[in-house]
């Protein structure tokens, strides 16, 4: 069934279809309409779940951590400073290997206050051990929210579904709402790995020593470092799992894109523009315009940011002469974080493409198609300066 709704409603419908059982959230713009919608679904009886109106984002994730441990499918959503307030809990959720799904409705972070979009909030949380997926449009919001639960539960790692605040969250677009029966076929009920059960009591997430230790049966149990190794190992393995799940979804719903990235007109492209989120789609408009000028431009939209699909990225980009990375976040004191990852993924190539890096759309600064076209047009040769960080440019800056 097609509907025209906001991105936040698309996410809420996805969570409803995924039959999330415990939802905890704290209001923050531009996420709020998503969890408002869920509370409406629950209070009106359309959705069977518990909604906990907590007193902070820190507590929102605490509720999800505990509920997920106790065997319920848990969901939360937040933005910007709310996500940062969860920071400690983000590490905890991943460390405890809990398949929580969270929508991050991307917004710039204070100070100073901004309510508008960039991706500094979730990008700055990339090293918390969560899977991060960036979304292009409403169809992907609803589909990915459903897929995220299956991914999380198969690999026991929490998933952030990140979509641009306002640009996607408050914009209305048509999208297809999958039917419940098919979603149920795709997503089996949640079976927790470690369950809090009074009949089989365990002490979960207790202090773990620097070295290994023998358990009560005389077997060798992990030290803290083994548990961290397993998280890293499982995150790397999850790239294949995510790819398989993407294919499964495509089989049932007959749509879906690349699990790791999406290529647009890249087959013969001399220059490839790279972006994440709604920007990846916007770049397609610029690529089309430049192709009319005779410049062979393609676009790669990175969907999976953590784990970083370095092999797929390298494969997609290394055939081009130049790569132009557009980002709505910055690793202060260096360059755009995505660009940093991309240059490292390309490093193994014998003759890697040159890389340009642009920062844009920070704090909701409007991104104009013409500006994207100009930036790509001006990036068709090796950048000046000793390295990419030196040649970093900002689009639309009026300083």
């Amino acid at each position: 069934m097609h509907t025209i709704e906001s991105g936040n409603t698309a996410a809420a419908l996805g969570v409803k279809l995924a039959r999330a059982q415990v939802i905890a959230a704290y209001p923050i713009t531009p996420q709020t309409p998503l969890t408002e919608k869920l509370s409406e679904f629950i209070e009106s009886g359309q959705m069977k779940a518990a909604y906990i109106p907590v007193e902070s984002e820190h507590s929102a994730l605490a509720v999800c951590i505990a509920a997920s441990t106790a065997g319920a499918r848990a969901f939360t959503a937040t933005s910007a400073n709310g996500l940062l307030y969860m920071h400690e809990q983000l590490h905890w959720a991943a460390g405890a290997r809990l398949p929580i799904v969270m929508c991050v409705v991307n917004r710039g972070v204070g100070a100073p206050w901004t309510v508008w979009n960039d991706q500094q909030d979730s990008i700055s949380q990339r090293d918390t051990g969560w899977i991060q997926i960036y979304i292009n449009d409403h169809q992907e919001i609803i589909d990915t929210t459903i897929k995220a639960f299956r991914i999380a539960e198969e690999v026991n790692i929490p998933v952030m579904v990140c979509y641009d605040g306002y640009i996607l969250s408050h914009t209305y677009m048509p999208f297809d709402v999958p039917d419940q029966k098919s979603v149920d076929r795709f997503l089996p009920p949640y079976k927790p790995e470690n369950c809090l059960d009074p009949n089989a009591p365990t002490n979960l997430n207790s202090v773990t020593l620097p070295d290994v230790r023998t358990n009560i049966r005389g077997e060798l149990a992990h030290g803290y470092m083994e548990l961290r190794y397993l998280l890293q190992e499982d995150l790397r393995k999850s790239i294949d799992v995510i790819t398989t799940i993407e294919q499964d979804y495509k089989k049932i719903f007959n749509r879906g894109e690349g699990a790791c990235l999406e290529e647009y007109r890249c087959e013969d492209a001399s220059f490839i523009a790279v972006g994440m989120g709604s920007l990846a789609f916007h770049l397609r408009v610029a690529a089309d315009a430049l192709r009319k000028e005779g410049i062979k431009v393609g676009v790669v939209g990175i969907r999976l940011y953590r784990p970083f699909p370095d092999e797929a990225v390298s494969f997609a980009l290394s055939k081009a002469d130049g790569v132009i990375v557009f980002e709505k976040a910055i690793s202060y004191g260096y360059m755009g974080p995505l660009c940093s990852d991309i240059t490292s993924a390309l490093y193994k190539d014998a003759n890697p493409p040159f890389v340009h890096n642009y920062i844009l759309g920070i704090g909701g600064r409007t991104i104009k198609t013409d500006a994207l076209i100009d930036a790509i047009r001006n990036s068709c040769s090796r950048p000046e300066g000793s390295d990419t960080a030196d040649s970093l440019r900002w689009i639309g800056l009026k300083i």
Binding site: A96, N156, T202, N203, L204, S206, H222
Partner: protein, 102 residues
Amino acid sequence: MGTRECNQITSAGEPGPGDGGKTGSWRVLRPVIDPSICIPARKNIAACFICWLYCPDCTITRTIPPTIDYEYCKGCGICAEECPTKAITMVEESGFISEENK
């Protein structure tokens, strides 16, 4: 053998004694019950059990007579202090060690 065989992806501790080791070794003084003064021992009835009630370490039994698990008793002395008939005395542990070493 590595730790993979334990099949856990997070810390899930299972109940068992002696997480802190044989904590009896922490003791400097050993509580010793005199059955001729201890109420349940002397009268051979279920009574008193103040020592059991207050033991912070679950090392005193609620039995007639009460017994002390010296493997884990940390020797805090609460039982001796609270015993209403002063049936428990705290005795230098070193004496027992030299005794056991003989």
